[in-house]
């Protein structure tokens, strides 16, 4: 190859210098552009498409959560008016342990929107109050005993709370299984009604928020599916039940009325009793 080939090379260079036709050039260059244009297009649309997919997913999950637990987003404002009704069982005990302004502030709807830690703090800070109650006169003690009944009545609602929150309000539970004399002993600190009442009044709305939706959903599903087992377990109309309790109160059958009210609380933990009805059915 290193031999001198001047004449041969000159002769070869004198041959026609053919070039590919323009059509071939166009086809090849177009293919070259297409080959690298496809990945760049994918890169260009990759991010927007990913964001759109993420947005759709987020909206879908949110809607699904709302569908499953509508109470979380929708029931909070509507629950506020129920606070006086829910806090109402406490007043018989409050004169003993709390000044009136404090009781009013407890009954205000606003505290319900406070963080969960606050009711817990109230429950924890209350152990001094039972001691106050025991130092009070026998007459006041008797009132306290009566006032414990509603507090115990509300305990089931607290018992249905999710475990972490129920743990904070758990001291109210032993009241059901203890005698009156036991409750007056110094040891069980949460025996005083106001703390349990405040805990339950603050806790119940949250329990309602969490339990109302599943209950409603179960009722809807069972009604739709015709599941006789669930639908048969649904009690009678709450309004009718309250009217029955009111009649018991009016007839002076307070013990029956208390039991009925307790049963009512168990059946309808999220039911709001309007003020007029509460005046008729509240424990006396």
């Amino acid at each position: 190859m290193s031999e001198p080939n001047d004449r041969l090379e000159r002769a070869y260079r004198s041959l026609a210098r053919e070039e590919p036709p323009a059509a071939l050039d166009a086809r090849v260059l177009a293919a070259a552009h297409r080959a690298v244009a496809r990945p760049s297009a994918a890169r260009r649309w990759g991010v927007p498409v990913s964001l759109a997919a993420l947005l759709v997913l987020a909206v879908g999950v949110t809607l699904e959560m709302q569908h499953e637990q509508p109470g979380i987003e929708t029931s909070a404002p509507s629950e506020r008016p129920s606070a006086p009704a829910e806090a109402a069982p406490a007043p018989p005990a409050q004169p003993m342990t709390q000044p009136a302004p404090q009781a009013q502030s407890m009954a205000k709807p606003a505290p319900q929107a406070q963080p969960i830690a606050k009711p817990g703090a109230q429950a924890r800070s209350s152990p001094a109050r039972p001691l106050e109650a025991k130092r009070a006169s026998p007459a006041i003690r008797e009132e306290a005993l009566q006032a414990e009944a509603p507090a115990a009545n509300e305990a089931p609602a607290v018992r249905e709370l999710p475990r972490p929150f129920a743990a904070e309000t758990a001291p109210a539970q032993p009241q059901e299984n203890t005698t009156h004399t036991d409750r007056l002993q110094p040891a069980p600190a949460p025996a005083a009604p106001p703390p349990s009442a405040s805990a339950s009044t603050l806790a119940v709305p949250r329990a309602e928020q969490r339990l109302a939706a599943p209950t409603a959903n179960v009722a809807k599903r069972s009604a739709a599916a015709g599941a006789s087992a669930d639908s048969s377990a649904v009690p009678m109309d709450p309004a009718v039940e309250l009217e029955r309790i009111a009649k018991l109160r009016a007839a002076g059958r307070d013990a029956e009325a208390d039991r009925a009210l307790e049963e009512f609380r168990k059946r309808y933990p999220g039911y709001r009793i309007d003020d007029a009805m509460w005046q008729r059915v509240k424990p006396r």
């Binding site: 210098r17 053919e18 690298v36």
Partner: protein, 185 residues
């Protein structure tokens, strides 16, 4: 002088279409002539050239500059031509020393037959073209790779999958025959 071929090909592999345009402009003529003089018909040459460039485009992702770009390009062309010849029932069987048995190229006319230099040059060109066409496939390919691709014997060997000595021998035999054809002995 712009970027070397290997840089252009790497740029194209990264998505720079302009790099391919530059690369194509540099080598499209040589490749086309290499294919045209290997196949003898413009239609086949055009089709084959397009397929070769498509293979280059398709292989951009796996391209590694382990050799000169032209070596890589003409190795693709070689492989495509081998397929083409096989499809036509031909085989790249030209032996390095088989030139003696090949049909002789068109005999060169005596210089005294064409007094004018331009006419003589044209005749030389025609004879050379005929001699190239008459070369055995392997010798013709080696010669064209040398002339059009500018490949050395080692690069020809790499492009055609043979050893360097064989490539050198093919080129040598091809040139000997072509010189005889144009009367340059």
């Amino acid at each position: 002088m712009g970027p070397v071929d290997e840089q252009l090909m790497l740029s194209y592999a990264r998505g720079d279409a302009r790099a391919f345009e530059a690369l194509y402009a540099r080598h499209k003529g040589a490749l086309y002539r290499f294919v045209l003089r290997s196949t003898k018909t413009a239609g086949e040459a055009e089709e084959l050239a397009q397929e070769i460039w498509m293979r280059v485009i398709g292989a951009r992702g796996s391209y590694e500059p382990r050799a000169k770009f032209t070596t890589w390009l003409f190795s693709i062309a070689h492989n495509r031509l081998v397929d083409h010849w096989r499809a036509k029932g031909l085989a790249l069987v030209s032996l390095d020393d088989g030139g003696d048995d090949d049909p002789p190229p068109e005999p060169a006319a005596g210089p005294e037959a064409e007094p004018e230099r331009a006419l003589e040059a044209a005749q030389v060109a025609r004879r050379l073209a005929a001699a190239i066409a008459a070369l055995p496939l392997a010798q013709r390919e080696a010669f064209l790779l040398h002339q059009e691709g500018g490949l050395s014997a080692a690069e020809i060997a790499r492009a055609t999958g043979t050893n360097e000595e064989a490539a050198k021998s093919r080129v040598r035999y091809a040139m000997k025959k072509l010189r005889e054809a144009i009367g340059d002995e």
